[in-house]
């Protein structure tokens, strides 16, 4: 047994939690969970050196520690600041933090295109969530937005820099998962862009993971682009015996068809296990996989819309009150031939079509 570490106490939004020394404020807040956890656009716990750049996780430190209870003069990036014993942190209880976060969201959005209706990330986009929670209803920016040319990063990955918020996650991913760094940042300031310099393909067994780490729709899966909206798909946990990776994935079904394969993500939207390109791009048949069961999706996510997990069906009270079952005065199907009650809409592989009702077999 390893020697026991002394836990230290930290208070975040009036909730005290005990954590190991060396934990960041953000991770301590994530242990509490809920709204206390600051949003993070660039920090990724699985990537070394990530964080500190987007500034959405700024928090106020009202007391540095028991030993030195002075407050910190500026808001600090909670993902890169470690907790001290007796530290008092204010996140959503601090007006300064709320105000600063509003500002950051505005900065992130001024050059972000409003193309959510055609963006594949919509529905699982961290920037969408962030702006719903902290954004203003309108923009104050009156100038043309920054645009870039689209880049092809090989046969599987599309880079659309216009949507990028420069979180650097993909750069860290490529740097830490692959043998050599193949892409990085060119230029600086507003014109900074993720690039391979002269259009090169990103070529590595694990490079597909850059799609999963991207918080916005800047890096998208070319085998899935424009195929479907994520909220029409049903995510299912599955695995296969993969020689390269853990093989634990999520399959995104519509009907019987697997539209895409992604890594499994935890409640903070972070990948649990990196998966290889073969699992992600090549295995798009349900037969390739052992299906474990539906993925639990947070009920606040649009992906869980219409999936009423754990819903209690109200009990019929009419027989109890009236002493008998209600009588149907008229069954619409007995007088109308428009609808066909034996056709269960939810069992159709796609949207309903008149062919389905006219007795023509769906091929």
């Amino acid at each position: 047994m390893s020697e026991e570490k002394k836990l230290i106490k930290v208070t975040i939004d009036n909730i005290t939690v005990e954590v190991e020394p060396g934990t960041s404020i953000l991770n301590a807040a994530r242990q509490i969970g809920g709204d206390v956890a600051p949003p993070a656009m660039c920090y990724y716990s699985k990537l070394k050196g990530s964080g500190g750049k987007c500034r959405t996780c700024l928090v106020e430190v009202a007391a540095g520690s028991t030993a030195d209870p002075r407050p910190m003069p500026k808001l600090v990036a909670s993902c890169r600041t470690n907790v001290m014993d007796g530290m008092v942190v204010k996140n959503i209880t601090s007006e300064k933090v709320i105000d600063a976060r509003k500002g950051i969201v505005e900065f992130l959005l001024i050059n972000h295109p409003l193309d959510c209706p055609i963006c594949d990330q919509a529905g699982e986009c961290k920037l969408q969530d962030l702006s719903y929670d902290n954004g203003a209803p309108g923009t104050r920016y009156e100038f043309p937005r920054r645009t870039f040319e689209k880049h092809d990063l090989g046969p599987y990955i599309q880079l659309h820099m216009t949507r990028c918020i420069m979180c650097f996650r993909c750069v860290f991913t490529a740097d830490q998962l692959t043998n050599q760094r193949v892409h990085g940042i060119l230029d600086r300031g507003e014109h900074a862009e993720i690039a391979t310099y002269i259009s090169k393909s990103l070529d590595h067994d694990f490079i597909g993971n850059v799609i999963d780490v991207c918080p916005v729709g800047a890096l998208t899966d070319k085998t899935f682009r424009f195929k479907n909206r994520v909220w029409f798909l049903k995510p299912v946990d599955a695995h296969r015996d993969c020689p390269k990776c853990s093989g634990k994935v999520q399959l995104w079904f519509r009907g019987d068809e697997v539209f895409r394969v992604t890594a499994r993500k935890d409640q903070w939207g972070e990948v649990e296990d990196w998966i290889c390109n073969e699992c992600r791009f090549e295995k798009k048949k349900a037969a390739d996989w052992v299906i474990e069961g539906p993925t639990k999706v947070d009920r606040h996510s649009v992906i869980s819309a219409n999936h009423y997990v754990g819903m209690h069906k109200p009990t019929e009270i009419e027989p109890e009150v009236m002493g008998r079952n209600p009588r149907l005065l008229m069954d619409i199907h007995s007088v109308s031939e428009v609808n066909r009650p034996e056709i269960d809409l939810s069992r159709l592989p796609g949207p309903a079509h008149s062919d389905n009702f006219n007795g023509i077999e769906n091929k």
């Binding site: 500034r55 808001l75 600063a100 500002g103 104050r140 600086r188 300031g189």
Partner: protein, 452 residues
Amino acid sequence: MGRKLLLEKAHVEGIRYYDTYRREGGYRSVEKALNTMSPEQVVDEVKKSGLRGRGGAGFPTGMKWSFIAKPEGIPRHLVCNADESEPGTFKDRYLMEFIPHLLIEGLIVSSYALGSASTYIYIRGEYAWVADILEQAIAEAKQNGWLGKNIQGSGFDCEIYVHRGAGAYICGEETALIESLEGKRGNPRIKPPFPAVKGAWDRPTVVNNVESLAAVVPIINMGGEEYVKIGMGKSTGTKLISACGNINKPGVYEIDMTISVEEFIYSDEYCGGIPNGKRLKACIPGGSSVPILPANLLLKTAKGDTRMMNYESLSDGGFATGTMMGSGGFIVLDEDQCVVRHTMTLARFYQHESCGQCSPCREGTGWMHRILRNIETGKGKSSDIDLLWDIQRKIEGNTICPLGDAAAWPVAAAIRHFRDEFQWHVDHPEESQTRNYGLAHYADPLQVPVTA
């Protein structure tokens, strides 16, 4: 006539070369430090001198040195920040160009104090010819036994390397400078860890400005206690000021921080007044990122005292009515200058130099520049002024490095003190394209509240 410590010999014929420099008493401080003092004594002497960092922030140099971690078996580094890119500041260039051996001498003593066997000068890429001068001076020093192994028989080894930057203002920020020195993209690091613990190649590192390191030479020569006697209060020693703008005698001046701002602008010894009989409108006393002040607040503090050329007096009143000493880039604006245009130029500079790493600075600097350009070209709205204020407020303090603050402060100060001029641009879009707002009331005497 103020006392000179750094530039006293700068105009002796041939002082750029070793023989003349040595004949004029150069390298005495190295002899003194290496032969008679321990590294701790050198640090103590610098602490006693009260020397404040000359790069802009004014942090006490001795204290910075005492923070350096000393883990067993890990080399430490001293890095000289010669990436002088602040608009209006050119004092380090002058010093390195005219009297390069002074810097080399200061570097050897400081390296000895910090235990740095490999010391680097990170020089701005645009100063190509200055880098050549420094390399020549280093070669001369090495030939004469002031660098290399076992310097002057003291057992101390030291080498100095000149590293040329590639033209980025951000590389003057110490952690970006270290990244660039390591051969990476010059993005500032997130602190902590501070460079004193993990700097270049993760080794303890101290980064100091050229002038701070050069000032170590007179401190060792005369002793810290003597050095404190020069100057005023916590502004000890002498400071190089690079004066430019609407003055008769632009150039680099060494002041002992006991003169008033008024004397500095108007006396013949220094700037020599404003040309063509124009009146003073505004001034940025410490390089482009410090707040601009109108003439009335520049010459007198809000309390009615005379404003002096030192750290405390210039920052008297905080940002509401004061400014900062900064890096000593003294920019004078006469009555014909347009503050809006001037602020726009600075905003454009910071937009261009933002590294693009963190969101507020990357997006906010460009936004501020575009709004200022609209106001300047007569397309502004009244609400734009409030918007500008809100943007700068949301950048300041929320960024990784001080470039965000440096971009926000000039805009904030311009709006704070010159709001009328911004409003006039908005209200008179056509007139503002043909003439300037002029001096207006910016030099009127201030109402000093009477204290009972």
